[in-house]
Amino acid sequence: MTVSRVLRALLISAAILAAAIAFGLWAGYERVTLASLHSDPMARALFFRVRMPRVALAALTGAALSIVGAALQALFRNPLAEPFTLGVSGGGALGASVAIAFGWGARAWGVPMVFVASFGGAMLAVYVVYRIARTGVVVLPGALLLSGVIVNLIAASGVLILEYLTDPTRSLQILRWTVGSLDIVGFDMIWRMAVVLLPATVVLLAFARDLQLVAVDEDTAASLGVNVRRTEGAVYFLSSLLVGVTVAVGGTIGFVGLIVPHAVRLVFGQDLRILMPTSVLLGAAFLISADTLARVAVSSTELPVGAVTALLGGPIFLWLLTRRQRNAAM
């Protein structure tokens, strides 16, 4: 593990991200060229008001979900942990639905209430899942995932009930958003998200070495001088924040936090100090690409990106599960 290895991984990831951004900006049914950007106001509006914010939203969401996936996997020493499987996204979705259903459109100090509600829901989900899975000093991996699934189900029912009870416009708003879609116009929301997400990501990255030690063994990490309780608290708080805010805007987009860190591991190895920063860049690249494909794959319509990532991530989850069980049997 040397500085040059980290830099090489970051450069490769940045190049891939640049390619994904170019793909996201230029691919689509309306052809946009440099010349048309110059001469055609419609093309300009499409490019700057629709495609750019959408790519930015995909980048922020993909980056946040991926780094949270990497952090939760390390914290729980469980390769199957990620925001969706642990119910964090579900909790966030329920929180955001409550805000939408009750029409909490207000902002407090510029922060939309839906962010706050979604963050609260995510925090609550993490707390419940963790309390159930942690017995004494160990976190039971099976109980962790199972309680995550159950929290997701409960949250989904809550969202469904809210959809039924609220008025039709808001109900449609909730429905459109629960599938997971990055359809957005303008940069207003992007800035509001970035103000929260960027600092949270930087602080989470600062815990990379502690998480590296915790991923090897929790008690040993403590004996090596890591403040495990503080690391745990920071990861819960920051993960809930990152997931809550992205869910509040883009809805539930599952398995990104599973697919990206595992792909990164295959290429760059296990070290969290490489895994976490490259997951940020490649998570952004992955979700931009997935969303662009969802936009252009079927000519008549746009596929919801959440369905696309789940279709990809579900089989990967099952593959990891069988591999894990084989390992346990050995």
Binding site: T2, V3, R77, D219, T220, A221, S223, L224, G225, Q270
Partner: protein, 259 residues
Amino acid sequence: MTAPMLEARDLWFAWQPGHDVIRGTSFTLERGRLGALIGANGSGKSTLLRLLTGLLTPTRGESLFDGTVVHRIPARDRARRIAWVPQSTAAAFPFTALEVVLTGRSPWSPRFHFEDEADRAIAQQALDTVDAGHLANRPITELSGGERQMVTLARALAQKPDCLLLDEPAAALDLKHRSALVRTLASLRDRFGLTALVVTHDLQLIDPAFDRVFAMTAGRVVANGSPMEVLTSASLAAIFDDPHVRTARIGERTVVWSE
């Protein structure tokens, strides 16, 4: 008479209120000595070791390291001086053996520092010391229990501690590596003045390399002395509550078995 490195003063600990696991035990291990901690299952050996490392805080009494209450020593300073080897470590991710051993260097480097060539050399040397140099690039998930135990031991050595606390380090080791472990500890003691306390069920390991033996029963150290003094039929029969324990001397060694 050298200064005590590890000292327990009327130490008490309970995982749950009212269920004391450690019940008012006191003892000292001097600097540069090799100690063995023996006792029946559930007598509190692993818990006592965690109290001595500062991983647990006693409910009453004090655990001192080199004259200072151990959990008052800042965590990083503590990690530079005391290394702890747990009974077993989980292996959720396929980190390489070298990556695991390099974690032992973390107390010595700032947060945003990556290990340099010197750290890698220390880690590789630690692996070589425990005869596991060839495992450096193997994922720990693919190693056997004994190989993993050697990697964990190498991680502790890479910490360059003054004091090693080992929880059944020999449990999964084969005959050759058991005696190699004892030779390594004795040599570190003789060359660098290392202090070590080893929890073990393998009483054959102890004599003649170890300086002291502490025997635990029901949360207290009840016997304490040289291997010759503690490893006798009468005292072992009391410690393990087993009248069938027998001992015999073969050369410098004490051999222990139960009829």
